[in-house]
Amino acid sequence: MGTAAKDVIDVQQPNNLLLDKHVEYICAYENKKDDYEYVMTEYLRMSGIYWCITAMDLMGHLHKMTAEDIIKVVKKCQHECGGVSPSEGHDPHLLYTLSAVQILCTYDALDVVDVDGLVLYVSALQQEDGSFVGDMWGEVDTRFSFCALACLALLHRLDAVDVEKAIEFVLSCKNFDGGFGTKPGSESHAGQIYCCLGVLAITGRLHEVDADLLGWWLCERQLPSGGLNGKCLDLAFF
């Protein structure tokens, strides 16, 4: 009887954040283009690049990444429809369109892509109920609401979509525990919560969140190991 808590306990973990090793690891990725993991994650490459350069930027080592090469890659991945794919030879998708815009903003290089095209692509993905699909194949998810609004906010083009409806949809995904799920009726999950709070922060509507209740749900994600899980009773992952 009783629920065994899922958690990771590692008695040999280091006590300091080994920043230099993180820098080395990320830098090395640029030279591992034939590596198994590198190729197998081609389908999310644009986001991978964004995570790497942001991490390097936070650590103060952005200059170690080759900006020109990265910007070239981004430019090559914009399709005729205006959207951006994760890598060459892949289809465009909202997830990678956001990552691309984030990368270009980091390098202050938005002028290398067709910004109007981006805006057109993103705004066309909004549905009647205010939600956003990820691409023409129709998957609805609050992650995509965040991708769309964050993208347009960075481009200063929020006027291109129905922001009120977008907010309405996100709020319809609010749950009894104060959290948010992928769609109306979906269970709360930390990743989705991040996206929904992002939408509400961008649009000045954070007061619609029960901050204390959600804050409590979120702090209950911390497990004895110190790690955080994504939802109730899961293993630490964040």
């Binding site: 190729v39 999310l44 525990d177 992928t182 269970e187 109730c232 009773l233």
Partner: protein, 561 residues
């Protein structure tokens, strides 16, 4: 030697693995390139299905391949007769099920399946439901599966009652089932709606739920699911939109309106209109206290040129017009009065206010206390007891609440800062319950406050004392629109951010805090009426002298250093 196992060395193992991976990689690359070529040539045939199938079975997250596969299937559906089309779809269903067995949490697979079911000539929704049940047996927390199940339910018209039954079965076989309890929270108000139209479930049904959830947490007091669900059952009351306070002052001539909820005043929002002596004013410019936001619960406007000194009684009326609520509030400024206010007679609604009946709450409190006797260090029981006491009668249970929160900080120390903030919130709520915020002077010192809540409710107070607490941030002080004298000694404040623009602040004391930079004092530059400041005992006094500080805040006449 015969019979002896050959054991590979680590180096050999690693090399083998590397070779395996290189092989896999090359196979994948070759396959992907072939598929891409065929797609460019618009080839939608058996070979395309085969190749994409092999690639996706190993790598279901490559959405481009699913896209191509959909193009292939769509083409085949367009050209094949109905029976063949149906067969094709069934085969695709089998393929997807095989993918799910390997990767039950791939967005790509589940989305493709829902796309397929929408395209099938004759979809069998019962099979789909069974598939969901099967996968929920493997992992009852798989939210992809639950989402897919909701899609199937919607498409096939399964009733909410049947789904509620399903959650009952799941819960009776295993109480620790957050996903089932969660789904239940959505279904209950649909199947058994409360006749009051509140959107909650009917009272008698809720009582049975309390029984159910109690069984759960008595069986396993450490199962979070039941406790979270219990908190939901208590039901957060809906805060109704109302005017809580109308305040008028002569010097400076202005009105402050406090509402019970944040709203947007103006176009596309709520309307607030003002009349003085029966005449409605035009061109009223409303500003909210949280100036960075369009939404707020505290709104202010100037009555310059509309209020007269030395006049007989002046009548001021404010009308709130929203889709939710319309209300007229009036206030009379007497002949020799410089300020007046009209306050709501409704009692303050604390955060743990519930829609549940007192009898129910009292029963729940009893049960939780019984559990506490069995498990004195169970943080869920302790926290739920606190929530129940606050819901029943915050002032009556004041001391008990403090005791329990102290115990929680000990028993669940990882979250001690949450409990400290919670206690701070309750202490301020108690002040508001006592209606002490309608006085001119408010003291909340020496009570270990770690954060400030409900500062909008102190908007009309002129003297405030928050000394000897644990405050580090003053962000919420932007709502203190009438404060003249503010005492913040003996806290851990680092910056005056939040005080800028306070229109009436004259006298500020910040002795013994943690302000260590000039930047920390910079916001005070924007307090036009500030004349007296005390900052003794802050690190910044070690590095900067009076003259330097006076440059930042030139309007001061007295600086205690």
């Amino acid at each position: 030697m015969h019979g002896r196992l050959k054991v590979r060395t680590t180096a050999e193992q690693q090399e083998l693995k590397r070779q395996e991976r290189t092989q896999k990689l090359n196979k994948f690359q070759a396959g992907f390139n072939r598929a891409s070529q065929k797609r460019l040539n618009k080839e939608y045939d058996k070979e395309s299905l085969l190749i994409t199938g092999q690639l996706l079975a190993a790598n279901p997250d490559v959405s481009t391949l699913w896209n191509y596969r959909r193009e292939i299937i769509q083409h085949l559906l367009d050209v094949k007769p109905k029976e063949e089309a149906q067969l094709l779809c069934s085969e695709e269903q089998e393929f997807l099920e095989a993918c799910l067995r390997v990767n039950p949490k791939s967005y790509g697979v589940w989305h493709h399946r829902s796309w397929l079911l929408n395209k099938m000539p004759t979809p069998d929704w019962k099979t789909e439901l069974q598939l969901c049940n099967k996968f929920l047996e493997y992992d009852e927390r798989n939210f992809h599966c639950w989402d897919y199940r909701r899609f199937v339910v919607k498409q096939s018209g399964v009733s909410a009652e049947e789904e509620l039954e399903f959650t009952s079965d799941k819960i009776s076989s295993n109480f620790s089932n957050y996903s089932s309890w969660y789904y239940r929270s959505k279904l209950l108000p649909v199947v058994h709606p409360s006749p009051d139209g509140s959107g909650r479930a009917a009272e008698d049904v809720l009582l049975k739920e309390f029984q159910l959830v109690q069984n759960a947490f008595f069986t396993d007091p450490n199962d979070q699911s039941a406790w979270f669900y219990h908190r939901w059952l208590l039901g957060k009351g809906e805060q109704k939109l109302e005017v809580d306070c109308l305040y008028v002052s002569l010097d400076p001539p202005k009105i402050i309106v406090r509402l019970t909820k944040p709203v947007k005043v103006g176009s596309n929002g709520v309307a607030l209109s003002v009349s003085v002596q029966g005449k409605q004013l035009s061109n009223v410019h409303w500003q909210n206290s949280a100036s960075s936001s369009l939404y707020g619960s505290l709104w202010e406007c100037s009555l310059q040129d509309h209020l007269v000194h030395g006049s007989d009684c002046q009548d001021i009326a404010v009308e709130l017009n929203s889709s939710e609520h319309t209300q007229l509030v009036t206030c009379a400024l007497g002949a020799d009065q410089s300020e007046a206010k009209a306050v709501s007679s409704s009692s303050f609604c604390c955060s743990e206010m519930t829609a549940a009946k007192t009898e129910t709450l009292t029963n729940e409190l009893e049960s939780c206390k019984q559990l506490e006797e069995l498990e004195p260090n169970n943080k869920w029981a302790l926290l739920t007891i606190v929530l129940l006491m606050r819901a029943i009668d915050p002032l009556r249970y004041q001391d008990d609440t403090s005791r329990y929160i102290e115990k929680l900080q000990d028993v669940d120390s990882v979250r001690r800062n949450y409990y400290r903030d919670l206690e701070s919130k309750y202490k301020i709520e108690n002040l508001l319950e006592r209606r002490l915020h309608y006085e001119n002077c408010v003291e909340l010192n020496g009570i270990a406050l770690t954060a400030l809540y409900y500062m909008e409710y102190l908007a009309t107070v002129s003297e405030i004392d928050f000394s000897s607490n644990k405050l580090s941030s003053l962000g919420q002080c932007c709502h203190l629109r009438c404060v003249k004298c503010l005492v913040l000694d003996d806290n851990v404040i680092v910056s005056c951010d939040g005080l800028q623009g306070l229109p009436l602040l004259e006298d500020l004391s910040l002795r013994n805090n943690n302000i260590s930079t000039i930047e920390g004092l910079q916001p005070l530059n924007a307090c036009a009426q500030l004349r007296k400041l005390a900052i003794n005992g802050n690190p910044v006094t070690q590095t900067h002298d009076c003259e330097q500080l006076k440059l930042v805040i030139p309007q001061l006449s007295y600086l205690s250093h």
